[in-house]
Amino acid sequence: MYALNYQRAKSLDEAVKLLGAEPEAKLMAGGQTLIPTLKARLAQPSHLIDLARVAELKGIEVKDGVLIIGAMSKHYEVMTSAVVQKAIPGLANMASLIGDLQVRNMGTMGGSIANNDPAADYPAGVLAHNVTIVTNKREIKADDYFQGMFATALEEGEIIIKLLWPLPKKSAYSKFEHPASGYAMAGTCIAQLADGSVRVGVTGAGSSGAFRWTEAEEALAKSFSLKALEGLKVDPETCLGDLHAPPEYRAHLVGVMAKRALEKML
C-alpha cells in the first residue's frame, strides 16, 4: 500500500467536503474491495475518506412500498434484517450468498454498487428490482446506472446515500459460484414487480458487466412459468470467457440459474 492520509467523515456534508478538497481522494466503505486494491498497489489515492461513521448512509426501512437501504448497510445486516426478510426475502438471500462471514460483516451495499464488479451479486438485484440509486446530487435509475465492467454513472464527488428498492410481488436470485473466488460465475435475479412486469438481472456472465436479459423478461411476462424459459439462451458472444470457463458455459449457466430462481418463485 502506498502511504496515504486517512480521514474519517462524521457527516455526509463533511464527506462531500473532504472528497471535493482533494483531487485524488477516495471514499472507503467496507474496504473489502478497496483495501485489497490498495495493498496490491493498483490504486494510489492521496486521501481515504472513511464513511463508517456517516449516519445519513445507514438504516433500513420500508416506506410507501419502497425498501430503503442505506449505502453503508453491510451485507450481514441486509441478510439478517427482519425488514428485508419480510419485504424482499430474495434480497436477504442474495446478501447471504456474498463472500464469507468476514466479508459480509464489512462489505456494504453502497460499496458493492459503486464498485460494480462484473461478478458482484447486487447488480443483478438492482437491475431486476428497478432500483433507484440516491446520491448527494441526484437519483439514478438502475437502467442508467451500470455502464460496463467497474463503470457506473457516478460522477466525481458523487456519493451514494441510499438505494430505493420498490417492493416486488416476488423475486428470487440464483447464483453459480465461481469455484475460486466465490463471486458469481453467473447469477440471475428475477423480479415480478408490483405492476406485474417482470425484470431479469444477470451478473457474472456478461462481457460488459451486469445486464438485463430482455428475452427472458418478455417470455416470462407472457407466461410466468419454467416452460417460458425453455429454449431461451443468452448469446455467448455477449459473455465472458476466461481461464475458468468459456463464454458458452457462462451463457448456459445464466439460463440454468434463471430456471432455478424461477423455481423458488413458483
Binding site: P179, A180, S181, L243, Y249, H252
Partner: protein
C-alpha cells in the same frame, strides 16, 4: 472444551511464534523485486535511484552475492545418481539474485533494504531495469518442441536429465507375451502449495562472535543449515537456525530460499538484523510449486488376468532451474514403487526432467508418490475397463500376498509387510461397495450421474538423507525435562505426540515435560519432517531416549535406595528395590542443581528403515449433468499405517491429505499463459483451493494395522497417504461416472466447466440433456 493437542491453545489464541512474530531491536526490512518477465535478458539494471531513496540503506543485486562468493542454490539429483548412458544431470547455476537473465515470473532480481518495509517497497519501484523479452516456454511439451526457446545456453533442448530404472528388455518380453495391454496418459498438474503462513525470515549477525542466527519457517534445521551454508559459505557451526511455530510446509519448507541468504549477507554487511516478510503474492510466485508431472503408463496382462509388467515414460517439469527436491521427486520418488501393490515380473520407468520458464518445483505432500500411486491405479482401472476384468478380483489376483512378505520388487525395493487383500476387503465393506447399484439408480432418478472408484495403493515412507535421528533430554534445576529432536512441525502436533510417547514410555505424567524442535544449539541432528517419517524416525528415537533416561537414573536410584544398581527395577515412573521405592521425578528434582548439568541428561539415536504404508480408499462422485458440478457423495478409507499412537492426529492427517487430493482433482491448477509466460493464477481469486465442504462431513476412515518391524514403534507413515489414496480413488470414481457418457479420459482438475463441455461434445451427454 479442552483442545485435543498441546499446541492448539497457543496457536488458536495467537500466542504462537511464527517467523513474522520475531523481531530484533534496530532491525531493517527487506523487499524483493521480482521479475515481471517469464524469459528475458536483463539489458541494464540501475539501482541508484532506489539507493538514493530516503530511508533506503542498501540495494543488493547479483553483483553483491557474486562478490560474497555465493554459490548456486541447491537442487538436482545427488551426484551419485546417473542418468541413461551414465550421464550426469545438467544443472544450470541458480543464482540467489538473477544474473543477466530471468527464467520465470517472480524470480528474485534485487533486494532493497530500508528502515521500513513500506520504504523498501516504494524504493523498489525506482529501480530501472531494461528487459529484452525472449520467447518463453511454460510447458514440457513446448520445451521439447523443435525450435523451442532455450532457457540455458549449455542445456540444448531444455532436457536436464533422462533417468531410467528397471529392465526395459524384460518389460518388452512381458509385453510380447501379454494377452491384453492398456495405456494411459495422465497429468498431475502444477499446484501452488499455499501453506497458511507465508514465507518470512529474520537474519541476525553477532559480530562479537562472528556468528549468525536465522529465524525462518522450516521442516527441520539440518537440511536448512546445510544448504544455507553451501550457498553462502557460512560455516554450519556459525549458523543458528530457529523455527518455532510453522504454519504449514507440505514439502516446500525443507530447503532455503534466496531471501534468507541475502538477508544473512546484509545483516553482516550492515551490522543490523534484517527482516523480510513475504506476502501471499510472494507465496504464489516464489514458493516452490508442486507436482507438474506427466505420467504415461502401459500395463501388460496375461490371459488369466495376471499383471505381467508396467512400463512408464514420464515427463517432469522442473521449472526454470533445478531447485529444492524437484529432481529427486522426478527420479527416485516417481519410480521407487512404480509397480504399486502388485506382484509383477518386470518394471521399467524412464523419466525426463525438463526446464520451462516457470517457478521451480519441489516437494508437495507426497512428492511424486501420490502421483505414481494415482497413475498406477488409474491405469489398472482403465485396463479392467478396457478388457472387461473385474476391478476387485483382478486386483486381488495380482496383489503381492501377505505370505510373500518381505517382497522384493523387480526394481529391488523391498516391501517389508502388508496385507493388501485384507485392507481392500475391509475398505469395500466399509464403503458398502456391493450396494452401489442401488445408490446409482437413486442418483439417476434424480437426474445425476454417479460413479464409484477405489484405489489400492502403497507408498514408500520414512526415507531421509540424514544417517540417524537423534534426540536429547535435558533436565533443569527444577527437575523438569525438555526433550529435543531436529524435525520441525508445521501443524502435525509433534509436541503432543512426542511428550505423550516419552511420558508413556517412562510411565510418568506429561506435566513437567517440555518439547523443542529445531534448536540448532542443541547439536541434535536428524531428518527434517518429510516423507511421512517423523513419528517412526524421531518417535523411535524418543522411545530409546526414555530407556536411556532410565539407564542414567538407575545408579542414582540405587544409591538413594541403598542397594546396588542391579537390584533396582523400574516401573510406572518409580524405581524400587526391596520394598522401597523412589520416583523418577522425585529423584530428578533431588539431583538438580543450577550449577551443573543434570546427571540424567542424555541423548539417543537410531536409524530406522523405509516403511510402506498402504491402503484402500473408496469414493463416490455425483455429477449434475446440467452444470457439470461434481460432489463427493461418499468417501470411505482404510489405511494400514502400522501402529497408531494418536488416533485424532492420524485422522487429521488423513482428512488433510484427502482434502488436498480433492483440491487437486476438482479445482487446483497453477496456470501460465502459453504465449507471454505470465502467471495467470497468482491469487485466490483465480486459484481454486478446496474448501471444508469439498469433502463430505461423514467421511469414513479406519486403520488396519499390519505393524512394521523396521522401527521401534511398528508405525508406518501417515502424512501423505491421504493424497496417494484420494487422487486415484476420486479420479476412478469420476471416470466411472463419465465413461458411460462416452468420455474416456479427462485430466485434472475436473472443473464443472470442463465436464459440461465434455458432456456437450459427447453422445451420452446428448442423451442426458434430452432427458433433463
Amino acid at each position: 472444551m479442552q483442545p485435543s493437542r498441546r499446541e492448539d491453545l497457543r496457536l488458536i489464541q495467537g500466542t504462537g511464534h511464527y517467523t513474522a512474530d520475531w523481531n530484533q531491536p534496530g532491525q531493517l526490512y527487506g523487499y524483493v523485486l521480482r521479475s515481471p518477465e517469464a524469459h528475458a535478458d536483463i539489458v541494464s539494471l540501475n539501482v541508484e535511484p532506489a539507493r538514493a531513496f530516503p530511508g533506503v540503506v542498501k540495494v543488493m543485486t547479483f553483483a553483491d552475492v557474486e562478490a560474497a562468493g555465493f554459490k548456486s542454490l541447491v537442487g538436482g539429483v545427488a551426484p551419485n545418481v546417473k542418468g541413461v548412458g551414465d550421464s550426469a544431470m545438467k544443472k544450470p547455476f541458480y543464482p540467489v539474485l538473477a544474473d543477466k537473465k530471468v527464467q520465470y515470473v517472480g524470480q528474485a532480481v534485487a533486494y532493497v533494504i530500508a528502515e521500513t518495509a513500506a520504504i523498501a517497497q516504494d524504493a523498489s519501484e525506482a529501480i530501472e531495469i531494461e528487459y529484452s523479452q525472449l520467447p518463453p516456454t511454460v510447458t514440457v511439451e513446448d520445451s521439447l518442441a523443435d525450435g523451442a526457446p532455450q532457457l540455458h545456453a549449455d542445456i540444448p533442448g531444455n532436457v536436464g536429465f533422462v533417468y531410467e530404472r528397471g529392465d526395459a528388455a524384460a518389460v518388452d518380453e512381458q509385453f510380447k507375451r501379454a494377452k491384453y495391454t492398456s495405456k494411459i496418459h495422465l497429468e498431475s498438474q502444477r499446484l501452488i502449495v499455499n501453506p497458511m503462513e507465508p514465507r518470512a525470515c529474520l537474519a541476525v549477525y553477532h559480530a562479537d562472535e562472528d556468528r549468525y542466527t536465522l529465524y525462518s519457517s522450516s521442516q527441520g534445521i539440518v537440511n536448512m543449515r546445510n544448504q544455507v551454508s553451501t550457498v553462502t559459505g557460512i560455516p554450519q557451526a556459525k549458523l543458528e537456525i530457529i523455527a518455532d511455530d510453522v504454519g504449514g510446509s507440505f514439502g516446500i519448507r525443507s530447503t532455503p530460499y534466496p531471501e534468507y541468504m541475502v538477508s544473512l549477507l546484509a545483516a553482516k554487511q550492515l551490522g543490523k538484523p534484517i527482516k523480510w516478510v513475504g506476502t501471499r503474492t510472494d507465496s504464489f510466485l516464489s514458493d516452490y510449486h508442486g507436482r507438474a508431472l506427466e505420467l504415461n503408463g502401459e500395463i501388460a496382462i496375461d490371459e488369466n488376468g495376471r499383471f505381467l509388467a508396467f512400463r512408464w515414460d514420464d515427463r517432469v517439469d522442473l521449472g526454470g532451474y533445478a531447485g529444492g527436491n524437484g529432481a529427486f521427486i522426478g527420479t527416485n520418488n516417481l519410480t521407487i514403487t512404480c509397480g504399486g501393490v502388485y506382484d509383477v515380473a518386470a518394471l521399467y520407468a524412464r523419466t525426463r526432467l525438463i526446464y520451462t520458464n516457470t517457478t521451480p518445483i519441489s516437494a508437495y505432500r507426497g512428492a511424486g508418490r501420490p502421483d505414481i500411486a494415482f497413475a498406477i491405479e488409474r491405469l489398472v482401472d482403465q485396463a479392467c475397463h478396457d478388457h472387461g476384468l473385474d476391478p476387485v478380483e483382478t486386483r486381488r489376483k495380482n496383489f503381492v500376498k501377505a505370505a510373500q512378505m518381505p517382497y522384493k520388487t523387480p526394481l529391488g525395493t523391498t516391501y517389508d509387510c502388508g496385507d493388501f487383500a485384507a485392507v481392500m476387503d475391509d475398505a469395500l465393506a466399509q464403503a458398502d461397495w456391493a450396494g452401489f447399484a442401488g445408490r446409482k439408480a437413486a442418483s439417476e432418478k434424480a437426474g445425476k450421474l454417479r460413479g464409484i472408484g477405489f484405489a489400492t495403493f502403497l507408498e514408500a515412507s520414512g526415507g531421509g538423507n540424514t544417517p540417524s535421528d537423534q534426540t536429547a533430554a535435558r533436565f533443569d534445576a527444577k527437575g523438569d525435562v525438555t526433550i529435543y529432536c531436529a524435525a520441525g512441525a508445521s501443524g502435525q502436533g509433534h509436541e503432543t505426540t512426542f511428550i505423550s510417547l516419552f511420558a508413556k514410555e517412562l510411565g510418568i505424567t506429561e506435566d513437567g515435560i517440555g518439547y523443542r524442535a529445531s534448536d540448532s544449539n542443541m547439536a541434535v541432528v536428524g531428518n527434517g519432517t518429510g516423507g511421512s517419517r517423523t513419528l517412526l524416525g524421531q518417535g523411535s528415537s524418543f522411545k530409546l531416549l526414555a530407556q536411556k533416561v532410565i539407564e542414567k537414573a538407575t545408579p542414582h536410584a540405587a544409591e538413594a535406595l541403598g542397594v546396588t544398581a542391579d537390584a533396582v527395577s523400574y516401573a510406572g515412573g518409580s524405581f524400587s528395590a526391596g520394598g522401597k521405592s523412589v520416583g523418577l521425578r522425585e529423584l530428578a528434582k533431588k539431583l538438580a542443581s543450577a550449577a551443573a548439568a543434570h546427571p540424567f541428561d542424555c541423548g539417543a539415536e537410531g536409524t530406522f528403515g523405509v516403511t510402506f504404508p498402504n491402503g484402500c480408499h473408496v469414493a463416490e462422485v455425483e455429477f449434475d449433468p446440467v452444470t457439470g458440478v461434481a460432489e463427493i457423495a461418499s468417501y470411505a478409507a482404510v489405511d494400514d499405517l502400522g501402529n497408531v499412537m494418536q488416533p485424532t492426529l492420524v485422522l487429521g492427517q488423513v482428512h488433510g491429505g484427502v482434502v488436498q487430493g480433492a483440491g487437486q482433482v476438482f479445482g487446483e491448477h497453477a496456470v501460465y499463459d502459453r504465449e507471454s509466460g505470465q502467471f495467470l493464477t497468482a491469487s485466490f481469486m483465480d486459484y481454486t483451493m478446496p474448501r471444508a465442504a469439498t469433502v463430505p462431513l461423514a467421511m469414513k476412515w479406519r486403520g488396519h494395522a499390519v505393524p512394521t518391524k523396521t522401527n521401534l514403534l511398528g508405525a508406518k507413515g501417515v502424512g501423505e497417504s491421504g493424497c496417494s489414496g484420494s487422487l486415484p480413488a476420486l479420479m476412478n470414481a469420476v471416470m466411472n461416472a463419465l465413461r458411460p457418457m462416452g468420455i474416456d479420459n479427462m485430466q485434472m482438475p475436473i472443473t464443472a466447466a470442463k465436464v459440461w463441455q465434455a458432456l456437450q461434445a459427447s453422445e451420452g451427454g446428448a442423451a442426458v440433456r434430452k432427458a433433463a
